[in-house]
Amino acid sequence: MSILKYTLLTVVIVLLLAFVLGCGVSLLASGRLTLRLVVDGTLSFAFVPLCELIAYAIVYRLQLGTRQIVGPARAGHYAEAVDRYFAGNTPWLWWMLALMTATAILPARRLGSLLAPILFTAPIPIALSVRFDWRLFRHDGRSSGQAVFDIILQRAIAWSLATAYFLGVALTTRDFFYTFVEMGQEIRSWVGTML
């Protein structure tokens, strides 16, 4: 395969994840999968796979080390690596599917009540995807310590980029910490409502 084909493969992988996120936006904002919101949501959330891709490219570069892979072979190796790496999003996709199902069942005015369950359950896909990546990086011949370093580096880059993009100019240190205060209030209110 040519470099162009491998590049296209990488683009398709990125677009697929953005498309799934776009579908989630459509369901959340309208209760149905409608083209106008799927396209809009795909565009709005394309930054998620792009941030992942940038972060992984940096980690991949470090992992590549002294391996002398050049030209189409290197492009192919990278595209395959991206393909394997993005499979680590599978726990998130199952989690999103559960969220989509809840969205379909709940009336629009009660969707806010999903926030606390989202906060409670998000650690599950986070943990599962870390486990997946740890195995992947170990499989690539990295030591346990190196694999842990790769995971931390990848997430530090990807999550920082994504947070900065998503929150934009609203992001200040004070806001960032206040987010946790609001999360705490949200959970407290939710628990209060449940009791």
Binding site: I13, L16, L17, V20, C23, V25, S26, L27, L28, A29, S30, G31, R32, L33, T34, L35, R36, L37, V38, D40, G41, L43, S44, F45, D83, R84, F86, A87, N89, T90, L93, W94, L97, M100, T101, T103, A104, P107, A108, R109, R110, L111, G112, S113, L114, Y165, F166, L167, G168, V169, A170, R174, D175, Y178, Q185, S189, G192, T193
Partner: protein, 284 residues
């Protein structure tokens, strides 16, 4: 995998076919044109929203809104994009706005031209909003925010009495009601739209003399608003509330939990099953 992809495509076709703008009719009550507006919304550029400014303009039409204020956190750029796009397509009135999310007071500025400095004390923020010809609305003023608003109780133009959180947390509603009573400002219903829920889920019916951004701002300053909240509760100017209740159409238009059609349900079902098959079979 192919079956999954096919089901998702079918889900989108069904959903797109079912996706029709809510019927809109011009409503005139007591000599005023009544406009449905949402004054607190966030876009994906860059205010932790999920829909682009132009997507929100289109969605406003689908949700039966006549006007929206796009209120980015500490910025007005996305609102200006939205207004430009809406003017091009003949969409709803888009007011340039900003949310000043300081602690402990969130102020929504509507009808401004340039970004208000959120580092200013709340009194000066509101002075700047007024200098620009805009209005200042207290955003989701639950008890936690009351101390922050103490210096500006008499200068606020509106306060949110209907917010999506009132549907999830019953204790929140009386706090918003009490705050509105204390300020005597116009009653405002806003969705604080970030993606989940519906644009205009809480909305403000504004009784305008003139169908324009200026007409909307004038009506809010004069407190000619009506808001339908949780449990059919109604807020606003008593005379406007009387007109609205006698007519009945505003109460209907306030509800965004409209029944889903068979095509909608089909879209949901096919989409969820299709994605389940895709996630099982595809390595993204």
């Amino acid at each position: 995998m192919r079956v999954g992809a096919g089901l998702v495509v079918m889900a989108i076709v069904a959903g797109t076919f079912a996706d029709r703008p809510r019927p809109r009719e011009e409503i005139t009550l007591g000599g005023y044109r009544v406009l449905a507006a949402d004054f607190h919304t966030h876009s994906s550029t860059w205010s932790d929203g999920s829909v682009t400014p132009w997507g929100m303009v289109i969605d406003a039409r689908y949700q039966g809104l006549d006007a929206i204020a796009i209120t980015g956190h500490r910025q007005t750029l996305d609102a200006k994009w939205g207004r430009w796009f809406s003017e091009k397509i003949g969409g709803p009135i888009v007011l340039v706005g900003e949310e000043l999310p300081e602690i402990p007071h969130h102020v929504v500025a509507v009808g401004i031209h340039t970004t208000v400095d959120s580092a200013l004390p709340v009194r000066e923020q509101i002075d700047d909003i007024h200098r620009q010809g805009g209005i200042a609305i207290a955003a989701h003023p639950g008890k936690f925010f009351w101390p922050g608003f103490a210096p500006v109780m008499t200068t606020l133009d509106g306060t949110e009495v209907c917010h999506p959180a009132t549907f999830d947390y019953p204790q929140f509603r009386p706090e918003l009601e009490e705050f509105n009573r204390r300020t005597g400002a116009a009653a405002i219903g806003s969705s604080d739209f970030h993606g989940p829920g519906r644009l205009g889920m809480c909305r403000t019916f504004v009784f305008v003399r003139e169908v324009s951004a200026a007409g909307i701002l004038e009506a809010i300053r004069a407190k000619r608003t009506v808001v339908y909240g949780r449990d059919e509760q109604v807020y606003g100017d008593p005379e406007m509330v009387r007109l609205a209740d006698a007519d009945g159409r505003l109460r209907q238009r306030a509800n965004t939990d409209y029944p889903m059609s068979v095509l909608d349900r089909l879209s949901q079902l096919l989409g969820i099953v299709g994605f389940a098959l895709l996630v099982r079979g595809v390595r993204l």
